[in-house]
Every structure is written in structure tokens, then in C-alpha cells.
């Protein structure tokens, strides 16, 4: 599999070049944490898309659609519509009132130490789960594609970890942003090319394509079956399927607006207007991508077939195997390299948001009581954190091994984000009465509820699960809100209420917002 190796190396060389260039240009903390707030709307929009479309999107959704048809497409729909929550409710107030992290908005009116400590914990939890999932995926992918070259799962995971540490430690947010942009363009072109090849296979006739999708044949327990893949219900089956689908929809639609690595992207632009336009750029790209998952997923189901995919690496290999069937080994290598680039970029984005949160929220504001630190010291702490986070993720990914369920870890990240982060962000922006006790209680309840419910769900407890749904959202998101509301009502904080006017004015006018530098 030499072509794949060469393409990997080429992408790595390009991204390391970007990192070197960014390192030369980074002068201060604003550069390191927020790319100097100089990104334009289209640049940040593409970067948001790059940060968002992870291994779960490219490999995962294609696989679920290839195996379970229409139900898999529900992920695509939810992951796009979720951006309306970001666009209408979160992006602009966040840009106007924060500096580097999600917690800036929460700490604005509340006591910074407890709130930032909890927010940093939740950010690190979401990012780590998300990251381990990506690294397990990368390791499995690279090991499978490069098996002839002697590269094992362990080597691949360690390689990915070292690369991601390099991007973040040396290049900061500027390098990370440009890596996202390169990756997003690669991913979009690869997906477009693959979709065109699928259509070409059906003589560019949508009629022929969908007719084939209407009768997909595969073997189930050794018996051949033919199913209409456009019909719902192949994944979400009674008795709990309908509830599980609604639970998943809730987690997707509200989780996105609570993902730390997406939220920090809005600090890299000069003002709220640019943040808004960048969301629309992202929606254009992300939407087009998810519509094309129709061709990737159904294409894999009809052209490659479930049986072949199951015998050659399983669901996650659907898109690469489709590329091999349609375009031969070279195109297979190209698509595999794109998947690898996708993972690498997302992992870098996660690392920068986790280490920024640790340095800014925990080190400066919790350990040092918010006493203004030397910005260079904050950057140094973030670099050390990036190194530690990378090492921890490498360790856990190796422990879990290549067979760990990647989709499960990503779902956990979304559920935690929707249950812990989303309620407190919304309430701190829109509820005058909201206070510190409420924020700590909301973050805590949401975090614990989401994690406990997943631990007792069918994904983990294979026999006799205590909680019948795979996704905890339908229970844990209301619990997160409930914790925040009850916590708030149990105490009074006149200072927090008094500062609401200031927050309201700043969020809506942009007065006093952090400016672009340089």
C-alpha cells in the first residue's frame, strides 16, 4: 500500500509547514489562543466545518447508512440543523462577551473560581472522550491500510499523538485553524469526487440509483435478505427505537452548541458579525457534505454491499472500500489519506481547546485566583497541557485497542456537551436570576447524569442494561437544566443579577468586546 503512505507523508509535510509558518507569526497570547482574532468569515467558516466533520462523520455516518440505511441519515440531518442553535442563540453573544474559552461567558457574572473549575473539568471530559475516539479510529485505519508496511496500531496511535502535540505546542490556534482549512477542502473534494463516481456507476441516473437503494440484498445470519434502505426502522427498532431516536436528536441539536472546540472558534474572528457569517459558511459546507453522505452510504450499500464491508474491516471502512471499488487502489489511498487528515485535524482542534481551557480557566483563574498572569506564562502552561493531554489520549487509546467502539465515545462527548455545557450557557446568557450555585449544580448534574446513564446503557451493559436507551440525552439534558434551575433557586446572588444589564448590553452591542490584534 505504498501510495497511501506517500499521501499520508505529503499531508503531514504540508501541515508541518503550516505549523512552522504559524510559529514564526505567533507573538503573544492572543495569537496562540485565538489566532490574533484576525480570521475572516470564510476562513473561520471552513475551519468550523473542519473541526466538526470528524471520523464519526466521514467514516461513521457512511458506515451506519451503508448498514442501516435511512436511520443513519438521521445523524446527517441533526448534525446540520444543530447549527441553527449555534447561529441564532450562541455564536454572537459568546463572541461579544468572552475572551478565550466557553467558561469566560459563564464567569462573566458569576464567581469565577467554582464556575471555571467545573467548566474546565467538563471541557476536558468532552474533549478527551472525543479525542480518544478519533485516535482509536486513526490507529485502526492506518494500521489496516498500511498493514503491509509493518506499521502497527500502536505505532499509528503514537504517531498521530506526536503530530497533534507538535501542531498545538508550536503553532497554536493559527496553525490549528489552517490545518482545519486544508483538511476541510480535502474532505469536501474527496467526498464530491466519490459522490460523482457513485452517480457515474448508475449512468448519472438518480432513478437507477434510488431503485438500487430500494432493494439492497445482503446476508443476515447466513440467510439472504432484500430490504428497502430508504425505509426507516433498520436501526431504531421497537420497543425503544423511537425514544432512542428522539434522545439522539436532542443530543445532536443541543450538543453542538456546547462543544468547547467549536465554541472557541468564534474567538478567532474580529467581531460578532464575522462570527455570524462564518457560521453560515460552515452551514453551507457541512450541509453539502451531509447531503453527499446519501451517495457515500447508499453507494457503499449498493455497490460494495454489506457482506463485503463486514468481511473487510467493518462499518467504518465503508467509504474507503467504496473508493477502492470505484476508483482502484490509488483512489483508495487518497480517500484513506483524507480520513487520516480529518482525524488529525479534529484531534488538533480538540487539544487546543482543552489546553486553552486548562491554562486560562484552571491555572490562571482557579489556582491563581484570577490574578492576571503573564500571558507568556499562560501560553507556556497551555503548551505543557497540550503535551500531557496528548500523552494521556495516546495511553488510553492504546489501552482500549483498535476494536473499541468509536461511535459510542463520540456520542458520549455530544451527550455530555448537551447535558452539562448547553444548559448553563443558555441560562447565563438569558436568565437574570441565574447564579454560581446554579452553574456549578447544572454542570455537575449534566456531567454525572450523562456519564452514569451511558455506563448503564445497552452500549456498555450488554445484557440486562439498567437504562434502555443508547443515548442518554432525553433524560440527561432535562436533568442538566433542572440541576441548574434548582441550584439557582436555592441561593441568591445580587451581584450576579446586577451584572446582567452589563452582559445584556455587551452581548447585543459588542461594546467592550475583545478586539483583533496585530
Amino acid at each position: 500500500m505504498a501510495p497511501a503512505l506517500w499521501m499520508f507523508l505529503f499531508f503531514i509535510a504540508v501541515t508541518l509547514g503550516i505549523t512552522y509558518w504559524a510559529a514564526q507569526r505567533s507573538r503573544d497570547a492572543n495569537d496562540f489562543f485565538a489566532a490574533g482574532r484576525r480570521m475572516t468569515a470564510w476562513q473561520n467558516g471552513i475551519a468550523v466545518a473542519g473541526d466538526y466533520m470528524s471520523a464519526a462523520s466521514f467514516l461513521g455516518i457512511a458506515g451506519i447508512i451503508a448498514f442501516q440505511g435511512y436511520d443513519g441519515f438521521m445523524y446527517s440531518v441533526g448534525w446540520l440543523v444543530a447549527y441553527l442553535t449555534v447561529l441564532l442563540i450562541v455564536a454572537e453573544p459568546l463572541r461579544n462577551t468572552g475572551k478565550y474559552t466557553m467558561a469566560d461567558v459563564l464567569a462573566y457574572r458569576l464567581h469565577p473560581r467554582p464556575v471555571r473549575a467545573m467548566a474546565a473539568l467538563s471541557t476536558l471530559t468532552v474533549s478527551t472522550f472525543y479525542m480518544i475516539a478519533q485516535m482509536v479510529g486513526a490507529g485502526a485505519l492506518v494500521a489496516l491500510l498500511l498493514k503491509d508496511s509493518g506499521i502497527t496500531y500502536h505505532t499509528a496511535v503514537i504517531g498521530v499523538g506526536i503530530l497533534m502535540i507538535t501542531y498545538v505546542v508550536f503553532g497554536g490556534m493559527l496553525a490549528t485553524t489552517w490545518v482545519q482549512i486544508v483538511k476541510a477542502i480535502l474532505l469536501m473534494s474527496g467526498t464530491l469526487l466519490l459522490s460523482v463516481l457513485v452517480l457515474a456507476h448508475f449512468d448519472f441516473s438518480l432513478g437507477k440509483f434510488f431503485t438500487a437503494v430500494g432493494q439492497v440484498t445482503y446476508h443476515e445470519n447466513g440467510v439472504p435478505v432484500t430490504k428497502d434502505f430508504l425505509q426507516p426502522g433498520l436501526r431504531f427498532k421497537p420497543p425503544y427505537g423511537a425514544l432512542d431516536l428522539i434522545s439522539l436528536s436532542l443530543a445532536l441539536i443541543f450538543g453542538t452548541a456546547g462543544l468547547p472546540h467549536i465554541l472557541v472558534r468564534f474567538y478567532t474572528v474580529p467581531d460578532a458579525r464575522t462570527a455570524r457569517v462564518s457560521v453560515v459558511w460552515a452551514m453551507a459546507l457541512i450541509g453539502s457534505f451531509y447531503i453527499m453522505t446519501t451517495f457515500l452510504g447508499f453507494g457503499a450499500a449498493t455497490i460494495v454491499g454489506r457482506d463485503t464491508i463486514a468481511a473487510n474491516g467493518g462499518t467504518n471502512m465503508s467509504a474507503p472500500l467504496l473508493a477502492q471499488t470505484l476508483g482502484g487502489d490509488l483512489f483508495f489511498a487518497f480517500v484513506a489519506a483524507i480520513a487520516f487528515a480529518t482525524i488529525l485535524a479534529v484531534v488538533a482542534g480538540l487539544t487546543i481547546s482543552a489546553s486553552t481551557s486548562f491554562a486560562h480557566d484552571f491555572y490562571t483563574n482557579v489556582i491563581h485566583y484570577g490574578v492576571e498572569r503573564d500571558p507568556a506564562e499562560e501560553v507556556f502552561v497551555a503548551r505543557v497541557t497540550a503535551f500531557v493531554v496528548g500523552a494521556v489520549a495516546i495511553g488510553i487509546a492504546i489501552l482500549l485497542g483498535p476494536t473499541a467502539n468509536v461511535a459510542f465515545l463520540v456520542a458520549l462527548a455530544f451527550a455530555v456537551a448537551a447535558s452539562a455545557n448547553f444548559p448553563v450557557i443558555i441560562l447565563s446568557l438569558f436568565w437574570k436570576r441565574f447564579n454560581t450555585t446554579g452553574a456549578v449544580a447544572g454542570l455537575g448534574t449534566g456531567l454525572v447524569a450523562a456519564i452514569v446513564l451511558i455506563l448503564i446503557s445497552p452500549s456498555i451493559m450488554k445484557s440486562g442494561p439498567l437504562f434502555p436507551l443508547e443515548n442518554p440525552g432525553i433524560v440527561s439534558i432535562p436533568l442538566g437544566f433542572l440541576g441548574a434551575v434548582i441550584g439557582t433557586l436555592l441561593s441568591r446572588e445580587p451581584e450576579a443579577e446586577a451584572k446582567f444589564t452589563e452582559l445584556l448590553v455587551r452581548a447585543n452591542t459588542g461594546l467592550g468586546a475583545e478586539k483583533a490584534t496585530g
Binding site: V81, L84, P232, R276, G287, V505, N508, T509
Partner: protein, 106 residues
């Protein structure tokens, strides 16, 4: 920051109040609309599967058409918001301009 902006005074301005009202008039109905439109999909797929399996043309069924329409809905709503937000930007700039005209302090 150059100067501490007098938040209370801005909050009391009729122009600021008008900005908040204008934003709420767009954002609240738009949010309710997209939440209802979006959650109708999993609810109908989950609880009215027979209806969703009705064929529209060829093998294409209601479920798939409704799912695709979500993409259009999201894009169109985003476009409407961008247009409305231009108006909000002008109003917000008006608030800031009015603040600069007023004498500082009491």
C-alpha cells in the same frame, strides 16, 4: 478597553430597547419554528412509520423527502437570519453612536 461604558444608561435607552425587541421578534419565532420542524422528523419516523413509508415517486418516500427538506429549511432560515441581522447591526451601531453624542458622566 478605552473607557468604561455606562451600561445602565445604555440599557435605559429607547433605541437599545427597540434593538432587543426587534431581535426577540425574529429569534424567538425562528427558534420555535426550527425546533418544531426538526423534532417533527424523529417523532413522525418513530411514531407514524406507516405514513412516513408512503411513496412519493418511485422508491422515494415521505421520510426521505422530509429529511432532505430539513437541509433546505436550515439554509433558508440562516439566510433570513443574515438578512434580519443586518438590520440589528444598524440598530446596534445607532445605540453606540447615540452614546458617543451624549455627554459622559452625570
Amino acid at each position: 478597553m478605552v473607557k468604561q461604558a455606562p451600561w445602565e444608561r445604555i440599557a435605559a435607552m429607547p433605541a437599545f430597547h427597540a434593538l432587543l425587541v426587534a431581535k426577540q421578534r425574529f429569534i424567538i419565532p425562528a427558534t420555535l419554528f426550527f425546533l418544531v420542524y426538526y423534532f417533527a422528523l424523529p417523532l413522525l419516523v418513530g411514531y407514524a412509520p406507516r405514513m412516513m413509508e408512503t411513496k412519493v415517486f418511485g422508491v422515494i418516500n415521505v421520510a426521505y423527502v422530509f429529511a432532505l427538506s430539513q437541509f433546505l429549511m436550515a439554509w433558508i432560515l440562516a439566510a433570513f437570519y443574515i438578512r434580519a441581522a443586518k438590520r440589528f447591526d444598524v440598530m446596534a451601531a445607532g445605540v453606540v453612536a447615540e452614546l458617543d453624542r451624549q455627554p459622559q458622566g452625570e
